[in-house]
Symmetry: C2
Subunit: 588 residues, 2 copies
């Protein structure tokens, strides 16, 4: 009976050409949660087996979460991660699993007698068939992989039935002359590339273009599986894809959602010339005959999100995961009636639900009637609670208490900052009393030029829109309002001129150029490392360029003490841009 069924399936297989059923598990692992990540991997293996997949692939460092940073320097952490892998191995009967983990190999040439690798375990039917070590280690931008890992040197291929497969990790696939080419030369027709590829706006397009090229160059199918989730300043977008040997996308996973993707891969008949200079190890996984079970998986292709939708959802997931993975339930946000705090509150509601978002309105003498009305309207639209604590009397008490030598000087920035810091203190008092996480509301334009008060509006646990330029803040609000159908963020908030309201008739434009002028300069100087001359060539005024550059350079000390926030541009502050505070370089 069993033989009969097998014959029938083999017949189907011959009719259809060579096929293999793969599952890509784009999971949301948590850094350091070895137990939780292991359970999640086991659950997805079970699901993949239920769907009769031959292979299931997990993201880079799925066991430890990514990036584990200096946890990797703890020998006990490496040991515990190896234990978790062993546990996963026990649950792979009848399937091949590709699982990212941290490997340790004894190495007499190394200082500690061992080398550490960013690795993929190739497990089949409860046996560890092989371990692949990542060869190309990124050490730029947010990445520090040379700090932790030794580079691998081998690019083996694995044979299941007579289908030859190569496995490699993230950066390994970004270079034309690299592991993918060598594995293709060794006969691989399917490359499984496992990733922890951090999101920024525009990354998906870059990534997919690269994958299409790599597939066509090498006449291989590429199955690309990516992590999902927020980790401190990074958010991972998923959007795993499968590209066929002609460079066509045949499947795309969801953005910013955990998902198990299935696909029956047609293995191409022809390959590029095998051979080449380098020899690859060939490992036979099993001699079982593959067959594609019926019913087949219906083909589906997910349309990518629009630019603003993608960024918005990155912010929502980054916020949700920071809150939840750090054990918080509720958040508190200081609402000013301005566009930044309105956007942050909206993102927070989308991330954890209106019932978990508390607004705090902290009016002063300089708070306008409009700001009050707009705040209350926003709160009504979002359906969140609002607490009002006027700060005027506290401010007056400070002024009364400060000594003569202080009061004899004209009022200025000191008094403005005093107010911002009273707000910070009240916010933190609520946070300490009730255990609510404070979300700060500063945008990238402000963070760039230091138009923010340290320990004032910068006080809080997570800076949701820290990497969002002001001009993009407006676009995101408009996108969200449009998606709502109704107005969620009151129109007047989007129309009125931005003001910190820390003194009479204050406007951002008193000290900053208009944001449409400012933001391109910021991008050029901060993200693209453009020189002063190059910035002038953009059509920028000399004085304006000098002012902006000076403000950026001089506020490094503020950024160093800022809370973390979600990277959504190619270059964020934080790990991504490591600038000295003590720095006398002036580029003009």
């Amino acid at each position: 009976m069993k033989r009969l069924k097998e014959r029938r399936l083999n017949k189907i297989r011959k009719e259809k050409g060579k096929k293999i059923r793969i599952a890509l598990a784009q999971i949301n692992s948590t850094v350091g949660d070895l137990e939780g990540n292991m359970r999640k991997i086991e659950d997805y293996i079970k699901e993949a087996k239920k769907a009769e997949c031959h292979i299931v692939a997990f993201p880079e460092l799925a066991i430890t979460g990514y990036p584990p940073e200096d946890l990797i320097l703890k020998p006990q952490f490496i040991k515990d991660n190896l234990e978790a892998l062993k546990e996963v191995k026990r649950n792979t009967s009848g399937i091949t699993a590709i699982v990212g983990f941290v490997d340790k190999k004894s190495d007499s040439t190394s200082k500690d007698g061992a080398s550490i690798y960013n690795a993929a375990a190739i497990i089949h039917d409860r046996r560890l068939i092989d371990i692949y070590h990542k060869i190309l280690l990124p050490n730029y931008g947010v990445f520090d992989e040379f700090r932790y890992f030794k580079a691998g040197k081998k690019y083996p291929v694995y044979t299941i039935d007579d289908i030859v497969i190569g496995v490699n990790i993230c950066e390994d696939i970004w270079f034309p002359v690299g592991p993918t080419r060598f594995q293709a030369h060794a006969g691989a027709k399917l490359i499984i590339n496992i990733n922890g590829s951090p999101y920024y706006a525009g990354k998906r397009l870059l990534r997919e273009k690269m994958l299409l090229n790599r597939a066509k160059e090498n006449k291989v199918v590429i199955a690309y599986v990516n992590l999902v989730g927020g980790q401190d300043e990074l958010v991972f977008d998923g959007q795993s894809i499968i590209v066929n040997e002609k460079g066509e996308i045949v499947l795309r996973g969801k953005a910013f959602e955990e998902e198990l993707l299935f696909y029956d891969i047609n293995i191409p008949e022809k390959n590029v010339k095998t051979g080449g200079k380098r020899k690859a190890e060939k490992i036979v996984i099993t001699n079982k005959r593959l067959s594609i079970p019926v019913p087949q998986i219906p083909e589906r292709e997910i349309k990518p999100l629009s630019e603003m939708e993608e960024i918005f959802r990155a912010l929502v997931l980054g916020t949700k995961d920071y809150i939840e993975k750090n054990g918080f339930i509720k958040v508190i946000i200081s609402l000013s009636g301005g566009v930044d705090s309105s956007l942050v509150a909206t993102i927070a509601v989308d991330a954890i639900g209106r019932e978990n978002v508390m607004g705090l309105f902290l009016p002063s003498l300089y708070t306008s009637k409009e700001s009050r009305e707009d705040t209350y309207e926003l709160v009504r639209n979002l359906g969140i609670k609002l607490i009002e604590v006027p700060i005027t009397e506290i401010f007056e008490q400070y002024l009364k208490t400060l000594p003569r030598e202080f009061k004899d000087m004209p009022q200025g920035v000191a008094e403005e900052n005093l107010q911002a810091r009273i707000r910070g203190n009240v916010l933190m008092a609520f946070s300490n009393k009730f255990g609510w996480l404070v979300l700060t509301t500063g945008n990238k334009s402000e963070m760039s030029v230091g138009y923010a008060t340290l320990y004032g509006d910068m006080a809080g646990g997570f800076a949701v829109i820290k990497d969002v330029p002001k001009t993009m803040v407006y676009k995101l609000c408009e996108y969200r309002n449009k998606r709502e159908g109704n107005t969620l963020i009151p129109q007047r908030i989007l129309w009125k001129e931005p003001s910190a309201e820390l003194k009479l008739d204050q406007r951002d434009s008193d000290v900053l150029p208009p944001y449409e002028v400012l933001d391109p300069i910021l991008k050029a100087y901060i993200e693209d490392d453009r020189s002063f001359e190059e910035i002038l060539k953009m059509g920028c005024d000399v004085l304006c360029a000098k002012n902006v550059i000076t403000m950026i350079d001089n506020s490094e000390y503020k950024r160093r003490q800022a809370p973390p926030g979600i990277k959504i541009t190619p270059r964020a502050f934080g790990r991504d841009r490591r600038f000295p505070i003590t720095n006398k370089y002036r580029s003009y």
Copy 2:
């Protein structure tokens, strides 16, 4: 006439054996100050020429300052640094100068068409003879050199008269099988190693032991020149040394002071077997005959400092340079009558003079009579000004203003932090009003377990003793009192039990184990990455170890927003220990 003099000098030279006169310029360059660093290098070249030196050597990246971090990613910065080097070159008539800078070479295999190197220019008599590229790039601890530099591959030697010299950079000399050995095999009898070697307690001994070994192994003289000065979280100690081929220290430069060191080096006659597998390029610098001018330089050897003196001076220089290189003149410190703020004030006075240090006393209801007396006594001893601003009324106004839902909860951490943050706000108001830099006073033990208030006592520009464990704080005070002869820091401050004085009868020991118990656990877990089991084996109580580890793990978010402070242990917080905030790993 000239010929006569030359003959006479040659005669002296033959009588004395082969000699070369070298100057080691252990300078304090400033990151990014290309113009200033260039002028300083030129001044020292002039001095070295006046002393008739044949060679003058400057530290690693002397032109740019060290470490320039992401400034290196700015193409204009690299260009400007090359211009500065050219300018230096013009001022080297009649001398050989070794100058650290950032080199750029076109490279078709690189993404940007160019590769960047950590380099040493070998300049002789206004000609660029050669450029050495650092081969071994550190990418651990505070170092990120793979982020910026490509590794060099050549280890040339240079011949002056018939003295063969090798130049290499910092990390290059730390490995037995490395550039030093290859250069010795190529005939080098003198190795000039230029450094930007960050200080920590114990580093000098490690470094000197390594240099003695390297000199003996290779039968070479080593001239080791190190940077001096503070740069954000790092301080460089100078202490340049010359080690002869027998492994004897023949000269040691001062600690934490800029200095031009002279020495007439006896070049050893015999060398290890030349040859070896690797071929070194041999470059003849000049065919001029060397001669040692008379009078000779008197031999001198500087005794190293005691442990506490060395650490204290590291803190003084690190503080002084942070203040001055960032353009501040005065500082303000919140004095509580406790040991931490007393030490910080004392360091500040030593760094920038009593007239530039302002004390601020911010008493509350919980401030004891002793704290007030001790503060006033300290201030008298140090001869600094004190401003007193009581915070009680401000605190009461906050409590009055906060809404019912807040006041209905029992008083606790929220109210304690409120007070600490009022102090932070007042401090920052003075800073904003008068342009004084706020020095914070938290020690490493507090920073480790999070026993500090974010935006409260953690508010400020520079955290002087952030890397000093509490037990060492006491030792440093005792050292400084002893050095004074008199009592500078009042004895009662050293005797009394530590308290934050944020509620009635509060003691640090209410929540922390005694510091003599705590500090070894902190070192084991934070600096040495010891596991829970290993910490128990140190004789630590299970509950206590769990508590301490949990407090460390849970306060990563606070440390992320802490001001920078001076690294004085093998592993500080900051660049040196990169931990995720979102981290579910528990090691027990």
